[in-house]
């Protein structure tokens, strides 16, 4: 087993993957989920957007939904309130001592916006919005941050292509470099 065997630990990660791929050791513990069981829970959207469902929406459509379902907390102009954070602004503040991290000024991936609205919004009713509504609201928030145009259609194909303003604001830049803490030069709890 990978965890307890120092020899295996010292070997390449591939060795672990191989060990994991062996036959199961514990007879009749747990069961195979049905396709439907997986489908209901499998809501996470990665940065390449390959899990995005069919559907689409524009900022124009999103504005109406926003007024009905989001404005009460995030404010009529999306500038936030006592109940929820602002969704726009903060441009040019990230390298100051008072950074304002918003979707427009900070969030590196548009897919994260879709994923979070879909799983968590509106507060207390996460998962209640249709795919079209989530596309439209994502388009609306991106439009209000001057990232897409009002009539741009957001769908599974277009959304992952949206270039977020702060995409290059993170180290390491490439996703494939994130996991290797040694290569990143992290030690003693700090990364460069």
């Amino acid at each position: 087993m990978c965890r307890s065997n120092t020899f295996v630990l010292m070997m390449a990660v591939a060795a672990c993957a191989v060990a994991w791929a062996q036959a199961p050791s514990y007879n009749n513990v747990g069961r195979s989920p049905t396709k439907e069981e997986i489908q209901v829970w499998d809501i996470a959207i990665g940065p390449d957007g390959k899990e995005l469902p069919p559907g689409n929406g524009t900022a124009k459509q999103g504005a109406e939904i926003y007024a009905k379902k989001c404005a009460a907390c995030h404010g009529a102009t999306a500038e936030g309130s006592q109940l929820a954070p602002r969704l726009l602004g903060g441009k040019g503040t990230i390298n100051t001592l008072q950074p304002v991290r918003t979707i427009g000024s900070y969030w590196p991936f548009a897919t994260t916006v879709w994923d979070y609205i879909n799983r968590a919004m509106p507060q207390g009713q996460g998962g209640s919005l249709s795919a079209n509504e989530v596309y439209a609201l994502t388009a609306f928030v991106l439009f209000r941050n001057d990232i897409v145009k009002e009539n741009d259609v957001m769908d599974a194909k277009n959304l992952p292509k949206v270039q977020m303003p702060n995409r290059n604001g993170f180290v390491p830049d490439r996703l494939e470099d994130i996991g290797d803490m040694k290569k990143r030069g992290c030690h003693g709890g700090h990364c460069p």
């Binding site: 087993m1 990978c2 965890r3 990660v13 672990c16 993957a17 994991w20 791929a21 062996q22 036959a23 199961p24 050791s25 514990y26 513990v29 747990g30 069961r31 195979s32 989920p33 069981e37 997986i38 829970w41 499998d42 996470a44 959207i45 990665g46 940065p47 936030g80 309130s81 109940l83 602002r86 390298n95 001592l97 008072q98 950074p99 991290r101 900070y106 969030w107 590196p108 994260t112 994923d115 979070y116 799983r119 968590a120 507060q123 996460g126 998962g127 604001g169 993170f170 180290v171 996703l175 494939e176 994130i178 996991g179 992290c186 030690h187 003693g188 709890g189 700090h190 990364c191 460069p192």
Partner: protein, 429 residues
């Protein structure tokens, strides 16, 4: 050496009593003098599930020092552990720190709860709690710590920088428990991880379905799917009935109310990990996925807000920990870091767990500045504030000037000043 209560703290107690939350604080306190009539204890059966003495008042406080925790955009449903009252290394579950980002813990019936393992695996699997409890279990001591614990920047700032701060105010977002569960590597082996997979996505059953990407290497090492805490079921605010325990890593990775693990190719860049938890550098770039806590320690007694009744003997004691492994050495200074002496380490010294240290001290009644410094078994040493500034490439005043820069993994050496009258004050910088 009774903790000196600030007016604010008394207010907190009163407020929590009104809210009916701090049970111990709701009862009348009467002195234990010979002739006083002590009110009789609650007639409720205290044998089925024991309660502490009604004279014990040690309680959590809101993560921002407020009670009830603040409302609004900065609201954090969070609570700090009263480290100033801690003895040994185990945090009682009801005093474990909590940071739920404003979410109330879901009310989960364990018979209905499921853990799904899927994605890049040969055999997707779904487990009930009962299933998981049939598998080989392990129990391990591990600390948990919020990545923002003891940082000088917002939102901790006001609390952390006050001269009157206690160790609960400055460092209360860390706790330590014995966690029992199944190694995640066992479950992944049952499912059969496919070639090309290198990350996993862990998801909770809470209101916002908190999601965190974790490298498979870490899962192979020591990650636990835990159902037990200090000998009983995990508490609701710690993830009942199932949580991920990612030893030594920032609290945010330790997904509570765990319902799903998806094996994937790359990190999923979920909301918290990409937008809330990266640490900002002064040049505007952010370090993301810093993950592992460095070596850290703090003296818990004597500490801020307490008062030494007079000169003489005192044991200096505190907690040390490191996300990198076991604590190898703790040194204590009573003169603000000019000279250091090795403290005794109390067994057990477990990897990625709080370790209790002690040192004898005869206070001569003059001013003293107490500090502790932890070295872990990777030979990493807890830095001074100046040392930490150097690591981060900033001037020391950056830590104070930064208004809303969320600084992760702040582990600078902490100072308590002992005044001639025995009062102990936080030295914010």
């Amino acid at each position: 050496m009774d903790p000196k209560q600030s007016p604010r703290r008394r207010f907190l107690k009163n407020a929590s009593a009104m809210a009916g939350l701090a049970v111990g604080a709701t009862r009348a306190a009467s002195g234990q003098t010979l002739k006083s009539e002590t009110p009789k204890a609650d007639p409720k059966d205290l044998h089925a599930y024991g309660e502490r003495s009604r004279f014990e008042k040690s309680s959590r406080i809101g993560s921002l020092g407020l009670w009830p925790p603040a409302a609004g955009p900065s609201r954090d449903y969070g609570f700090r552990t009263p480290l100033q009252n801690s003895v040994g290394i185990i945090t009682p579950a009801p005093l474990h720190f909590v940071l739920n980002h404003g979410q109330e813990p879901p009310d989960i019936d364990p018979r209905q709860h499921r853990l799904l393992i899927h994605g890049m695996v040969d055999r997707p699997l779904i487990f009930t709690l009962e299933d998981l409890q049939r598998l080989p279990s392990v129990s391990r001591l591990h600390f948990l710590e919020c990545h923002g614990n003891s940082a000088m920047s917002a939102p901790n700032r006001a609390l952390r920088m006050a001269e009157t701060a206690t160790v609960q105010d400055t460092h209360g977002l860390t706790s330590c428990s014995e966690w029992t569960g199944v190694l995640l590597s066992v479950l992944l082996k049952e499912a059969g991880v496919q070639k090309g997979a290198s990350w996993l996505l862990a998801e909770g059953a809470d209101e916002v379905k908190h999601t965190k990407s974790i490298p498979l290497d870490k899962a192979a090492d020591d990650v636990l799917v835990a159902y037990g805490q200090n000998g009983e079921a995990i508490r609701p605010d710690q993830g009942y009935p199932l949580r991920l325990l990612v030893p030594g890593w920032q609290g945010i990775s330790n997904v509570k109310w765990l319902r799903r693990i998806k094996v994937v190719e790359e990190p999923y860049m979920a909301m918290m990990e990409t937008t809330r938890y990266p640490s900002l550098r002064p040049d505007g770039k952010s370090r993301w996925f810093e993950s592992e806590h460095g070596p850290k320690s703090v003296i818990t007694r004597p500490s801020g807000g307490q008062k030494l009744p007079g000169s003489g003997f005192y044991e200096i004691t505190g907690l040390a920990w490191s996300g990198g492994g076991a604590v190898r050495r703790v040194e204590v200074s009573t003169d603000g870091g000019r000279t250091w002496k090795d403290a005794q380490l109390q067994d057990p010294i477990a990897r990625k767990a709080h370790t209790r240290f002690r040192m004898d001290w005869n206070w001569d009644g003059s001013e003293a500045v107490l500090q502790s410094r932890c070295t872990d078994d990777k030979r990493e040493v807890q830095p001074t504030l100046a040392g930490l500034a150097k690591i981060w490439g900033v001037n020391m005043d950056y830590f104070q000037l930064a208004g809303t820069v969320d600084m992760g993994n702040f582990n600078a050496i902490h100072s308590w000043k002992v005044n001639r009258d025995g009062s102990i004050r936080n030295v914010p910088v």
